[in-house]
Symmetry: C2
Subunit: 355 residues, 2 copies
């Protein structure tokens, strides 16, 4: 196995059967938006021939094809399983695609919990010089957290939100780019397979054992803080999601000074469990702050802005949603994709050292 | 390797070098209090020849010896690494003890994160019919949580607290025994290596990946709820501990109806990090409840009592501590070891179906 990456110039196919346009295809969307690799095809038999741009609003010249064979014919060298499914299992019927990709001489990027490197059949069919990259493997040498991030003098900005896949990573990356455009040196901690894949570094938090979860975050925050004006930390899940429990590790590991609250406009229930109601946003924001401050044991972070995901709305609806959220919560609000991150940067300014 | 257990009749030595009487030797203490195995020796070169009872207040006829050799001479068949250390590593100098135990024909119980089953040298020296039991291995077939525990009609009682090793497991076991003595059918979810070791079942929560942590708790709660009048769940860590992040998984997995708050009387700082201040107890109790209720998304649990650990106090000091805690927090308070669990059971009574 040689070095595994999705660097500039690599030719990638995104495997998305049935999920194109769905928020669970966020790995596909994020690689198209922020990745360095050259995407040559999206593989989705359910919508082959349609326009990815029309289906998602994300511009790309790559066609949607029905099979991995077609992607290989278009020059794909790497097949990325480009969806995030609850529980992290690969749909069994996708195995044919993976075996075909190996036989066709492609490398494979796997964001799921299952270890494809331990799959003897698949591994034996991977050609010399190609590789399997299991993104969700726990790093070596982890330690429990020790509260070290509290000693940092620069802002630690954590994204938190109301559900999985509402746009926490996107908001964080857009904010990073906005700050960098102003000459800021930004540390970034990707904490999920999508961020790792797009940025080439980070930790797969949900694949890390509970005892080391906060420590893994802390260690990345400390490393990223070197020669940085602030550190952005990609959040995971939501405290109101019955399946999600990463927030405490993220909060204790990063000891955040600032929270960017992310919500999908109009959403009132957890998407995969429609009996689970998203709480009143103001109370939820306060709860995140209270958990971080832990009844006074730690400094209380500031929720400095709301990133509102309005991808599913018309421009007018989006404007209305931003205006009403801003009014009701009293916090600067914007859709970072639609409106940019100027409001976020302005709200952060008082905490940053003069540029 | 044959079946691994610490069942009735097995002859056990507890390896505790330097930790006898320390709260980090809680595996030793819990096995002596609640385990079924016959403890033939405690191995601690720092206090060999002294009385374990005098050092800890836990009655046992087993002597403290300096070496594993002496324990073997007393008939020990199983060596238990009987301490819990932050980060779950085995002190390197204990390796000699482990190798000696293997050579002497003993089995080994390992509560740490490191996998002794993967230690070729040690494994090769374990005799036929003996075994290594790595307690902290993630179970197979886990799923993310789905909020199923909310559908249960019986109480789910979770212990929460102010630090690691303050007595959450002890309080839960004592409460289980008290309820059982009244004819109640009690489900019990052990969530750490100590509880698993003492009770023979449970999950090593801190060795489980974040994505499956709440689901592992939920799955045990559902199984234990069958034919039970209530389920007790052993808590882990504390939300004010910079290293600990298991509480959210415990809360979402068990969807508790009742919280038993556990505190070591007089303790004001996290033991292993004396810069970390334990918050005001009343505010901390409210925070646990708020996290569980998540700003109204889930039912709010009742904190029904305080288990106060007074092991380090004189009887008079203990009485004073209980009285002042009860007055200041307005909740039934008792040291379950010193005073029994009558107050806890009385406080729970309104939530239980008539016996």
């Amino acid at each position: 196995m040689t070095a595994r990456s999705l660097g500039a110039g690599s030719k990638v196919a995104l495997l998305c059967h049935g999920y194109t346009g769905d928020t669970r295809a966020k790995l596909a969307n994020t690689l198209l938006r922020y990745g360095k690799a050259d995407v040559v095809a999206i593989v989705d038999s359910a919508c082959a021939g349609q326009s990815f741009d029309a289906l998602t609003g994300i511009p790309t010249a790559a066609p949607i094809v029905a099979t991995v064979r077609e992607a290989a014919d278009l020059g794909a060298e790497i097949l990325v399983i480009a969806v995030a499914l609850l529980g992290g299992q690969i749909p069994p019927e996708w195995r044919t695609d993976l075996l075909f990709a190996a036989d066709a001489g492609m490398s494979i990027v796997n964001p799921m919990h299952v270890r494809l490197e331990h799959d003897d059949e698949l591994r034996s069919r991977i050609r010399e010089g190609r590789w399997i990259w299991d993104l969700r493997v726990e790093p070596e040498g982890l330690q429990p957290a020790s509260g070290r991030a509290l000693g940092l003098s620069i802002p630690r900005i954590l994204t938190v939100g109301t559900d999985m896949a509402v746009g926490k990573l996107t908001a964080a990356i857009e904010l990073m780019r906005g700050l960098e455009a102003q000459g800021r040196r930004v540390g970034f901690v990707a904490t999920g397979q999508v961020g790792i894949c797009a940025l080439g570094r980070g930790i797969p938090l949900d694949g890390i054992r509970v005892d080391f979860a906060a420590g893994a975050v802390e260690s990345e925050v400390m490393r990223e803080s070197e020669r940085a004006d602030c550190v952005l930390i990609e959040g995971q899940g939501a405290i109101c999601h019955p399946s999600a429990s990463a927030n405490l590790a993220l909060i204790r590991g990063s000891m955040p000074t600032h929270l960017l609250f992310v919500h999908r406009a109009g959403q009132t229930r957890i998407r995969s469990m429609d009996w689970a109601i998203i709480p009143d946003l103001e109370r939820m924001i306060r709860l995140y702050e209270d958990i971080a401050a832990c009844a006074g044991a730690f400094p209380k972070p500031v929720t400095f802005a709301i990133a509102l995901n309005t991808a599913h709305m018309s421009p007018t609806e989006a404007e209305d949603a931003v205006r009403s959220t801003e009014t009701s919560l009293g916090l600067p609000t914007a859709d970072p994709i639609r409106h940019g991150v100027g409001k976020f940067i302005a709200a952060l300014a008082p905490a940053m050292t003069p540029a």
